[in-house]
């Protein structure tokens, strides 16, 4: 039942997008997000759709995989659509109706914005291994060390969290089976009853996560871990020509997004 969690999922591959430096990909996604929030008119949104489709084609990630990740967000998306649809003032589509033309326009744009936002970031995590992703983040945030921001600590926590997602999912499945075997019922009853039924899963899971954390810390120390100080990496990240080309393309895209916003289209 927990197998379809897509968080942090990575589809290995050997496309040009997979080969890009993680730093390039992170920066491009940031540009993409900013551009998305700059968009006001349909042309602006069209530009973002173009970017997404381009990235999707180059990375050979199928639309099905990309949109699968949207499933948990259906509720939020529908809610956003409904609120914008019913609470935007303007010209009613029929005299006396609450739904306005402006409302339809805004609802569509909001839905598109969320979908583009989420699928765009999925494109990053789908094509970049978690290790490369955290390495890229660590290097990009390096300047923040000057203001004493714990960059290394944050990225190592992130990579450990990603490492333990499959282990903890497996464990949760095991606990659920064990509680079921003891007659626990997770499927019937009202919301409160079901929420209460989760308690016998969460308590052992949290206890075991703490034990694991303790073991892990001991094992890391035994392998000479002593923070980011003096640590080197086996896989050195290096910007290649294709990275500079991609970044140039990103800059052009950004300029276009700003121009479109200035003209309000």
């Amino acid at each position: 039942m927990l197998k379809d969690i897509t968080l942090g999922q990575f589809f290995p591959g050997d496309t040009i997008v997979h080969r890009l430096d993680p730093r390039t990909k992170i920066l491009l996604v940031l540009l993409y997000i900013v551009a998305l929030f700059l968009a006001v008119g349909w042309l602006g949104y069209g530009l973002s759709v173009l970017a997404l489709v381009g990235g999707m084609a180059l990375s050979k990630i199928t639309p099905r995989n990309l949109f699968k990740g949207l499933k948990p967000l259906i509720f939020i998306i529908s809610l956003t659509a409904a609120i914008n649809l019913f609470y935007t003032g303007g010209t009613p589509i029929l005299p006396g109706w609450i739904v306005t033309w402006e409302g339809i326009d805004r609802a569509l744009k909001m839905v598109l914005r969320i979908v583009l936002l989420v699928t765009g970031t999925f494109l990053l995590t789908y094509t970049t291994s978690p290790m490369a992703l955290t390495d890229g983040l660590e290097l990009l945030m390096k300047p923040l060390k000057k203001v004493r921001f714990p960059v290394h600590e944050m990225t190592i926590m992130m990579s450990m969290a990603l490492r333990f997602i499959p282990t903890l999912i497996e464990e949760t499945d095991r606990i659920i089976s064990a509680q079921r075997a003891r007659g626990a019922d997770f499927e019937t009853g009202g919301l409160i009853r079901r929420a209460k039924a989760l308690l016998p899963i969460l308590v052992p899971l949290i206890v075991s996560a703490f034990n694991r954390a303790y073991d892990l810390a001991t094992a890391m120390e035994s392998r000479c871990y002593h923070g980011g100080e003096g640590r080197t990496r086996m896989k050195q990240l290096k910007l290649k020509r294709v990275d500079f080309a991609a970044l140039a393309l990103g800059a052009a895209y950004m300029t276009a997004a700003v121009l479109l916003r200035n003209y309000g289209i």
């Binding site: 290790m131 990579s159 694991r212 892990l216 890391m220 035994s222 640590r231 990496r233």
Partner: protein, 277 residues
């Protein structure tokens, strides 16, 4: 008396416990030897192992490893890179999502240049027979494979000593065999000093020295042959004989004259065959 690991009158008590977990333990382990540590749950065998790379420090007495006092904080890294420690649960000691990245963890912590890390990672994976899995995700491997990755992860430090704290306790028989033969090979090929903590009698047989711990004390110390021939002692300590030793003992009691000594499967079979012929 110059061993690579030296315990001098070591006492240890966990802060939350009343009783001491180690009581007056003195011992010397020679470089290049294979020592098995046997004991029931709560006998202090894990505590003993954790003193060997300064995860725990003695409350009294001292521990010297490769000439370094484990309480010497400034030399902690120098000490730990010489002692590879493998734990019971393979899941909790693997730190990366890809096998080779995990093996690279320790050499990266040591600040080695990238080419040297690459060389060590490949060599370590080769030694445990996991090279072909180097790009796999650890959580999809079997228990025995995971544990071999964990072993590769510590031998990438190129330590002189490898301490294994019940490495097979969570594995199936197949995984146990894989791990044990890997350990034996490391000793044979790299001349590593091996300390194996276990509660499986038969895993002690290939060792050249066997320590039995009971209630925090060393209750017996000798070769596996010596110790497994002392029926009464083992009974007092609540330990069973390995299957081969039990067979030989039973045959002797039944009146057969068997040559003593051998405990491994091969030796046992030969002894029985010699009498039958």
């Amino acid at each position: 008396m110059d061993g690579i690991i030296q315990f001098e009158k070591v006492h240890f008590k966990y802060p939350e416990d009343q009783r001491e977990s180690l009581r007056d333990v003195s011992l010397t382990i020679r470089e290049g030897s294979f020592t098995a540590v046997l004991g029931r749950n709560g006998s202090g065998k894990s505590t003993l192992a954790k003193h060997m790379n300064a995860i725990l420090l003695p409350t009294e007495g001292r521990v010297l490893v490769a000439g370094i006092d484990t309480a010497d904080a400034p030399r902690l890294l120098e000490l730990r890179r010489q002692v590879g420690m493998v734990f019971q649960n393979p899941d909790n000691q693997i730190v990366a999502n890809v096998v080779e990245d995990d093996v690279a963890f320790a050499p990266e912590n040591l600040g080695l240049p990238p080419e040297e890390i690459r060389r060590r990672v490949d060599a370590a994976l080769e030694q445990v027979g996991m090279l072909e899995y180097r790009l796999h995700a650890p959580h999809l491997l079997s228990g025995g494979q995971k544990q071999r990755v964990a072993i590769a992860g510590v031998i990438a430090m190129e330590p002189r000593i490898i301490v294994l704290d019940e490495p097979t306790a969570m594995l199936d028989p197949q995984g146990r065999r894989e791990v044990l033969s890997t350990v034996l090979r490391l000793r044979r090929e790299k001349g590593m000093t091996v300390v194996l903590v276990t509660h499986h009698m038969d895993e002690c047989i290939p060792a050249d020295r066997l320590l039995v711990l009971s209630e925090g004390r060393i209750a017996a110390d000798g070769t596996p042959e010596e110790i497994f021939s002392q029926d009464a002692l083992l009974r007092d300590l609540g330990l069973d004989l390995p299957e081969t030793a039990r067979l030989l003992r039973d045959l002797r009691q039944a009146g057969l004259e068997l040559p003593g000594g051998a405990l491994d499967l091969e030796g046992c079979a030969q002894a029985v065959a010699a009498v039958l012929n």
